[in-house]
Structure formats: C-alpha cells, structure tokens
Amino acid sequence: MANELWQQRVQRAQEAAAARLGVDVSVMRPPRSPSAEGSAQEGKEAAPEPTVPAVVTEAEAVVEAVEPVTQVVTKTAPRPAKVQTASAGNAAADRVAAAKARAAAKAAANSASAAPKPATSRATAAKTKAAAPAAVGQPGMNRREFVTYAWAAALGLLTLEGGLATYQFMYPRFKAGEFGGKFDIGVASAVPPTDAPPKPAPAGKYWLVNTDAGPKALYMVCTHLGCLYKWAPSNNRFECPCHGSKYTREGFYIEGPTPRSLDQFIVEVVDDGNTAVTTDSDKGAVPPPVSSPNAEIIINTGKKILGKPSSESPFRAAG
C-alpha cells in the first residue's frame, strides 16, 4: 500500500531530526530486535531481556540528548522500560524513531513522546522478513490472553445457543385443524369411494381423492401461478379458470401452461400404532395403503410433495 511513501517520509524526518540535534542519524534507528518472530507471530513484541539494557541506554541517551533542547519533563524511570517494550519489537523501529524526532521537535509535556509507538502488525508483516535473529523471551500468547480467548469462545457458544433457542421459539407452530397443521379426517371407511368425485376441504386447502392405491390430498392451488382450480364434473377432471391448466382426477397433468402436476400433502394412515405415509417416487407420490377400515387418516398440510414435471405425466395430452 503506501509503505514506500511512508518509509521515505520517515527517513526524511529522521534525517532532519538528526541534523537538528547534531547526532548521527543511526541514533534514530534503534537496532531491529531479535524478537522478530517472523510473519507467523504478528504484533507480539517479546521483550528480550538481554537486549533491554542496550536499548534502554540508547533510549535514555536519546532522551537525555533531547532534554536540554526541549526541556521535556520526563516521568523518568518507567519510561525507558516502556521504550524497550515496544521498540524491542520489529519495525517499531522506524516509527519509534519518528516519534522521537517529533518529540525533539515539540516541547511536549507528556513524556509519551519518548515512549514508543506500538508496532502495528502491518508494519510487522512488512518488515519482518528482513529481521534477523531468533526470538528471545516469550513469543506467543500469555495466560491472560489465552483465558480471554477461552472465555470469548464460551460466550460465543452461549450466544449461539441463545440463537438456536430463539429460532426454535420463533418457528411457527401449526395447530391441528389449521392450515399448516394436521387434519384428522376420521377412519378409513369415512373416505369417499374410489369412483366418487373429489371432496373439497377448504380449511385444509386440499381435495380428498380416493384412488386404488390409497387416499390422496391434492393441494387446492394450481401449480401454474397460484389460482384455485375447480372440479369439472362434466369432464371428470380439474380445470383451472385462470390459464386453462387441466389435471386428472388424481392430479396428473393433462394439458395447459403449468410446468408440473398437482402438489400433494402427505397422508398418514395410522393403524394401531403403525403409520404408513405417502412416499415420494419418480413417478409421483405413492399414497399409503389403507390397512384396515378402522385406520385413522391424517392429512399433514405442513408437508407437501411437489408434483412431477408435466412432461413426465402419463396422462399428458398428445400434441
């Protein structure tokens, strides 16, 4: 990004400061520290014990050099320690030097000027490859950081659990007898015979059709664009008034602009604890067989099987 420009500015500032102070410009550039841990470890500046004195004295030298000129009232003792903390780190070097240059320029009361800039890991990443020796001290995270991450993970887990609970709370609940829920239509003997016309159930929005294989519940909405189709007794088929889609009594596509046959709701046949349900197959939904006349029939309007494409309908009109 703008690193090159930045570097040039830093160098110019260092040179100017050095010239003003009458020192060598290398003073402005503390040595790159062995704590450079490579680009893998970003941002952590280890405080390598052995180098502390060297850097400290250097910083102190700078500070002392600065003092008479700028009358900076340093809050002395702690400051050098802070200096080494960060400047021991990687590319804080240049920023540190720039900071010192700025401190020299201003008579800032806060000795913060003598303290280092924190090294950003962008600087780290940019410069670290050039950095030399092995890390000394404690690279990596300390206990406090680790525990904080662990705690953050626990909080994250709690939030996740809260989110799941909220989702379950919010999910719609369908009542039996309401559209979206289950409709218990009674025992199998109550279902009309296989040659009778379909029986409409407006509350559940389905037509109840009894076929040889078992009962079907056809969704009342046309699969074209959402109109409610009608039963045409004279033609013994369903016909949609909107665009003319036509379906057989059992819901298969005959002709019309619709892309697929009628959708169905899952039918459950419950006989003494055994439940048979509508199964989805390549040819269309297979209704559950009715095992006994006393089996309960339940239409589950919450679960729908889509009709198969019109091209596959065995009853599609030729041409």
Binding site: A2, G43, T85, A99, A119, A125, L155, A165, F169, R173
Partner: protein
C-alpha cells in the same frame, strides 16, 4: 502498492494477514490486531494510545468514558447497580420482543396466548419467566441504585439534574412493570390494574381524575380498549420515554464522572471528571472486561434462577364479575395498598405518593450540606433509613394478612386452598389427597406425611381462630375428598361452629383438583423436594 506486489513481497499468507489486520483495525475503529493482543495480554498501550480511538471514532463506545478513576471502579463503591439496571432493561426488551411474537392484546385471545406460550412454544415458559423475573429484578435494582446514590450523597451539586432524571426513570420503570402486569389477562392482572386506575381517578379535581382514568382504560371498565392501551404503553410509549431519559441520565453521568468515595475528596469539591494520570483505569480493556464478566455472572445466575426456581404465576382467566379474595397489588406497590387500607383513596392514593415524589425530586435542592461523608450527613442517612423502614411497614400492611380478614371460616379455607394461587393443598398435589372424610376432631395418624401435614395445618388454623374470635367457638373442620370423575377429585370443606349466641353455623366450599394440574410445579418446589427426600428415606411406589 497493489495487492499483487504485496503478495510478491510478503507471500500470499503475508498479504492476507496484512489485509486482515487492516480490516480488523477499521472494524475496531483504530485497534490493530497487535494492539488488541497486547490489550488482552495486559501490557501497557503505546503512545499515542490507540485504545482511545474507538471512543472518539466509533459510535458504540463514544458515550462510554475513556478512563475511570481507580476508586470508582471498585465493586463496593457502586455495586455496578447502574450498569445492571441498564442491562436488565436490555434483557427485558429482547425477551419482550420475542414474546410479542406469540401474544396479541385482545381479551378473547390474550389468556389463550399465555397458555399457548407456556405449553406449546419451545422456550416459551422460559422466556416468559425470564421476562417476569427481569421485570421484578429491575424494579428492585433501580431502587437499590437510588438508595446507593442517596447514601453516597452523589446527588449533590453538580449532579442534581442526574438525580432528577433518575427519579423519572424510577417512575417510568414502575409504570412499565405495572402496564405489563395487565397483559396476561388473568384475575390478578385485571383486578390489580382496576385498583391502580381507580386511584388515578381519585386525582382532584374530579374532571381531571375521571379523564385520566378514561384515557388509561379506554372505557369505564377495563376491557378490550384498556388492554390495547396498556399494551401500547408497555411496548412502545413507556420504553421510548425511558430510553430518552436514560440517554440524558447517562450522558450526565459520564459528563460529571462517577462520584468518588467521599473520603477521597475535599468536602464540597467534585474532582470526579479530572482524573490524574496515575489514577486512570482505562475502559479498554480493564473496565470493559470487568463489566462484561460481571454481566456474564449475573446472566448466569438469572438463567439458573429462572430455570430451576422461579415461575411466573398465571391465575384463572380474568372475570370482570368476580373479585377474588386476597387480591394483592404487585409487591412493589404493597406500600400503596397498605396506605389504602388506612386512609381514603385521595390521601393514600394520590396525595401521599405525590408528596413523596416531589420530595424525592427535591432532595438535591433541599440538602444544603456540601459534605458527602457519612459522618457529616447523619441526619440525611438516618432519615433515609427511617423512610425505608416506613416503606417496609407499609408494605407489610399491604399484604392480605393485614386488615382484610374475612370471617374465620373463610380465612381458614382461603389459607389452605385459596381462590387464586396455590396453597398447601395444591402444592401437595393430587396424589397425596386420599379419598375419604376427615375431621379436625380426629386424632388418627395419617399414613401420608404430606396429607398429615395438611390436616395438622387445618386443625391448627381452626384452633387458632377458635381461641382468637369470640364468635367462633367449638369449631370443627371437615374435609371430604371424593372421586368426582376419573382423574378429578372433589375437595369439599365444611366448617361448623357456634357463634357468641351459641347458634350453630356452617360454612361450605367445594373445589376440584385434576390429576394433571401441576400447582406444586408452579408455586412450590418445597413439597417436591420433601417427596423426593421421603422417597429416599423410605421408598414407596
């Protein structure tokens, strides 16, 4: 330098890391990944301090102070009550919003919605209980907060206006709790709110009181209109007012700084906002972590309480034709109910609370003592303690035990099997009510220890009133338990006694209890645990 050159220079990982660091720094408004890690590791910030940037550049942190005075961060200085009040409001808002999904404020469906929430919605009971517990906790915590501020004298100049907004917030909190009380539409709600709005009617002149009452109820009696208006008050109007006053309140708090312990300042001086560098504790990361951990612990405790111990009650559906015995106000209004029992509704319902409110608001202006130290404020502290005790006594007077006793026979039955609520009989449960006819004269030993406890209480209550009342002598209580239907027991109470003229009198009352009605779950874990323990000691089927 383009991305490609970066990749060439640093390698792909290095470039991605660089971009990641960039993004992180932007999202956190100035804290790079390195600085973030240094923050977590407990190291000092660099100079200039990048941890100050989120306070000036980000929105969420801009109102939080950058640093606090070290003495103000101690737990037993503020007990974090202000923070807790705000957090409780947040909990209430979130749980309330979720509960709104399953509730509509119409009398014909409100109660059914409550039942649906409690039985048919996953986490419905949990959220409702949490909402209720949070509401009661919030009233308690804001009151404690006010007490703390009073005791540390933190309402003194320059903080008088902060105190005023705080009193407003207290009143709004009470009204929020009260307006929410009506929404379940059960007997408790309907009659407690009827009493409350009738007190509003007592405000003179008559035209004002009646208008306020009508505005609140939307009709002469509380019905569909009243429920809707209270709902609107509860979910939008009062929260907006609260948020507005909270903004002002918190802004003032941060502006003046949290007041320091009185011993650390000169009398009459307020240096809370001028904190010397040596005493600064920065929000990021120290105070932030502290607040977060405090709130986490509090949340955990609240959830545990809600799941295992607390259950918000739901009584019978609201019946405008019948007021149940022992109708009570919510506990934070017991003091009001206590006063209403001893004075007429204007004095007790309007005048005294009004005067109290004015006094509260006026405290910072009445208190001319510049010192916040305890030893210099003995009068203030003692009068505060006395006021608290008066409130407690009035509160006790507000409970049904005081001065609304009916006839002894009624009270005996109400104690053991109240019209609304649980009582010992329902806490014991269906299984521990053996069929038969029992009398307080019998001295048989009952097999079931819990039923034995019930009969013991019954006998004790009868004897107690026998001794106390002249009109209630030679009393005998009878309890008949029959199987009315499969799974339904009929519990018939019959108390006979001789009055002062030796006339025999009889009182009868019948209740039904179903096998599946879990009152012990609703109100008392005591008997459940007793059951469990007695099963451990002597296992039986």
């Amino acid at each position: 330098m383009g991305v490609q050159q970066e990749i060439r220079e640093k390698g792909l990982l290095g470039a991605v890391a660089g971009i990641g660091d960039d993004v992180f720094t932007r999202v956190t408004a100035g804290i790079s990944v390195g600085e973030f890690r240094r923050m977590l590791q407990g190291e000092a910030p660099g100079r200039p301090n990048p941890r100050l940037k989120p306070h000036s550049e980000a929105f969420l942190l801009h109102i939080k102070p950058t640093y606090y005075h070290e003495s103000a961060t101690r737990f037993n200085h503020t007990f974090r009550l202000g923070l807790l009040s705000t957090y409780l409001f947040l909990i209430e808002t979130i749980t309330g919003l979720l509960l709104m999904i399953w509730y509509a404020p119409a009398p014909e469906r409100a109660y059914a919605d409550m039942i649906g929430l409690l039985t048919n919605v996953p986490f419905g009971q949990f959220l409702r209980d949490l909402h209720r517990l949070g509401a009661e906790a919030m009233v308690a915590i804001v009151t404690l907060h006010m007490v703390r501020v009073y005791l540390t004298g933190s309402y003194k100049p320059p903080r008088q206006f902060t105190w005023f907004t705080g009193v407003v917030l207290l009143v709004v909190t009470l009204f929020l709790s009260f307006s929410g009380y009506l929404l379940p539409w059960d007997q408790l709600s309907l009659w407690a709110v009827t009493i409350g709005t009738s007190m509003a009617e007592a405000v003179p002149p008559a035209i004002v009181g009646e208008t306020v009452n009508l505005l609140a109820r939307g009709a002469p009696d509380i019905g569909a209109n009243g429920l809707l208006r209270f709902y609107l008050l509860h979910v939008i109007f009062l929260p907006l007012v609260l948020i507005l006053f909270f903004f002002v309140h918190y802004y003032k708090v941060v502006h003046f700084g949290i007041s320091l312990p009185a011993d650390e300042e000169e009398i009459g001086e307020d240096t809370a906002s001028r904190i010397p560098a040596a005493k600064r504790v920065y929000y990021l990361p120290d105070v932030a972590i502290d607040e977060l951990s405090f709130l986490t612990v509090f949340t955990m405790i609240t959830i545990l309480l809600t799941v295992f111990f607390f259950q918000a009650p739901l009584e019978h559906i609201a019946n405008p034709q019948s007021t149940p015995l022992h109708t009570v106000a919510p506990w934070y209004f017991y003091w009001l109910q206590g006063m209403l029992k001893i004075a007429d509704k204007f004095i007790a319902g309007v005048a005294v609370p009004g005067i109290l409110l004015v006094l509260l608001v006026a405290i910072p202006y009445l208190d001319k003592n510049p010192s916040r130290r305890g030893r210099d404020r003995r009068v203030a502290i003692v009068s505060g303690i006395i006021a608290g005790m008066v409130m407690l006594i009035l509160g006790w007077m507000g409970t049904p035990k005081y001065a609304v006793q009916g006839a002894p026979s009624i009270e005996i039955v109400q104690e053991l099997m109240p019209e609304e609520g649980s009582g010992l009989v329902r806490e014991i449960g269906y299984a521990h009510l053996p069929l038969g006819v029992y009398s307080t004269d019998d001295h048989t030993k009952y097999d079931d220890p819990q039923f034995a406890e019930l009969m013991h209480e019954y006998t004790a209550a009868v004897l107690h009133f026998d001794e106390q009342e002249n009109d209630f002598n030679g009393a005998r209580g009878q309890l008949t338990i029959t199987q009315d239907q499969p799974g339904l027991k009929k519990i018939n109470w019959k108390i006979s006694w001789y009055d002062a003229q030796s006339q025999k009198e009889v009182f009868q009352k019948a209740f039904w209890l179903h096998r599946d009605s879990f009152y012990w779950e609703q109100y008392g874990l005591k008997h459940k645990y007793l059951d469990y323990l007695s099963n451990l000691i002597s296992p039986k089927e």
